[in-house]
């Protein structure tokens, strides 16, 4: 039998096989463990999962989604705020008293941590903002928005004709 690695002496070859076996074994073990933990590693439930009853009520959970446009209602006095998280399919109302992170705004990804009451409203103890992976200067962002609006207007004009 011709050796697949010509310059490896038998002892070194045995050790090389040992190293490979170690790598494969650990990868398999960790892979299986992660597969078993699958859902539990997720940081938050989506509104659809909450609607499907997957999130336990009465226990502290995290729900993540986008803040629905026009859903943010602030109390006239104090720090009370109420908004709706959505994933496009389902909605979860969140009630919170406290200071919101800088990135909080309508359309922004948010993770709210708290308890879901019997009325289905999440009373949040903590609200975290998620930010996306895009970085661009304001002028570029503005140009993109304008181009998008022109496109939308163009499509609307096309449709109206």
């Amino acid at each position: 039998m011709s050796a697949p690695v010509p310059h490896l002496p038998p002892a070194a070859r045995r050790r090389a096989i040992g190293v490979l076996a170690l790598l494969v074994g650990v990868a398999l073990a960790v892979g299986l463990a992660l597969l078993a933990l699958r859902e539990n590693i997720n940081l938050f439930y989506s509104p659809s999962q909450v609607a499907a009853g997957e999130a336990p009520t009465g226990r502290v959970v995290r729900v993540g989604g986008l803040v629905e446009q026009g859903s943010v209602r602030r109390a006239a006095e104090g720090l009370d705020v109420e908004f709706v998280l959505t994933d496009g399919a389902e909605r979860v109302t969140v009630r919170y008293r406290g200071i919101l992170p800088d990135l909080f705004r309508e359309g922004q990804g948010i993770v709210a941590q708290g308890r879901i009451g019997p009325d289905g409203v999440l009373v949040a103890e903590q609200v975290l903002a998620k930010h996306d992976e895009n970085y661009m200067p304001p002028r570029v962002a503005e140009a993109l928005r304008e181009a998008h609006e022109r496109g939308v207007r163009g499509a609307a004009a096309e449709g109206g004709r």
């Binding site: 070194a12 790598l23 960790v30 919101l100 609200v127 903002a129 970085y135 661009m136 200067p137």
Partner: protein, 238 residues
């Protein structure tokens, strides 16, 4: 002749020549990258000036993974060929990689407070990066715990290799699970989701960190060789 760096004396000579040069180059790249990132790069639409911590955080995070793979590769060579130089290089790579990991965790935490609203969250990305730091520390501790540095290096190499499985977990954690940490901006198949004027200094910083890593590991290897001359002499005699 070309393989003289495989002897401890060869490695010492190589490190003596190259470590200062690499560290000097990395200092120049660092100045250029920081100037580009902190002065020339435009402000970010969403995060304003605060996003500029990316120029330390992201290269440090990349190097924490790169440094781990390098350390484990030296460990594999040490295990298979029983070469002392590889054991020394593995041991030298551990604290440098650990420092980058700690830097990535610290800058990430500082960035997380204003943007996310929290210093820390136990999501898959942050937790797996913390495990990476513990793996580095474990490799350092295991090697130091043994009476004989060579036996310690072999045990540490096995841990380093077993821990390699965590590297893809750190990288893909943001895709496999939902996390507070966002997805990859640069290291993905699609075009980078960052403006070219912001990307350029980031790549210069990554190059600076990478060259620093090579220089620091070689310098550290020299220290280890100087600190453990007995084993080296025994090897030269054999």
């Amino acid at each position: 002749m070309a393989w003289t760096f495989l002897t401890t004396r060869g490695l010492d000579g190589l490190a003596a020549r190259w470590a200062p040069r690499l560290l000097a180059v990395s200092a120049l790249l660092l100045v250029a990258g920081l100037y580009g990132g902190l002065v020339l790069a435009p402000t970010d639409e969403e995060q304003g000036e605060a996003y500029r911590i990316i120029y330390v955080h992201v290269p440090a995070a990349w190097l924490s993974l790169y440094g781990y793979v390098a350390m484990a590769a030296f460990g594999a060579v040490a295990l298979i060929w029983r070469i002392r130089v590889a054991e020394v290089m593995m041991a030298a790579a551990a604290p440098v990689g650990a420092a980058f990991t700690a830097l990535a965790l610290a800058t990430g935490s500082i960035w997380g407070k204003p943007m996310w609203g929290t210093w820390w969250v136990w999501d898959a990305r942050l937790t797996s990066e913390l495990i990476l730091l513990f793996l580095y520390i474990g490799v350092m501790a295991l090697r130091a715990a043994a009476e004989d540095p060579r036996a310690g290096a072999r045990a540490a190499a096995i841990l380093a290799l077993a821990g390699v499985v965590n590297v893809p977990i750190v990288h893909f954690s943001v895709e496999w699970w939902n996390t507070l940490h966002q997805g990859p901006t640069v290291t993905r198949l699609a075009a980078p989701a960052i403006h070219p004027a912001m990307l350029a200094p980031l790549l210069v910083m990554a190059a600076a960190f990478m060259v620093y890593h090579a220089g620091a590991v070689l310098l550290r290897a020299r220290c280890l060789l100087a600190r453990e001359p007995a084993a080296a002499l025994a090897e030269e005699a054999a």
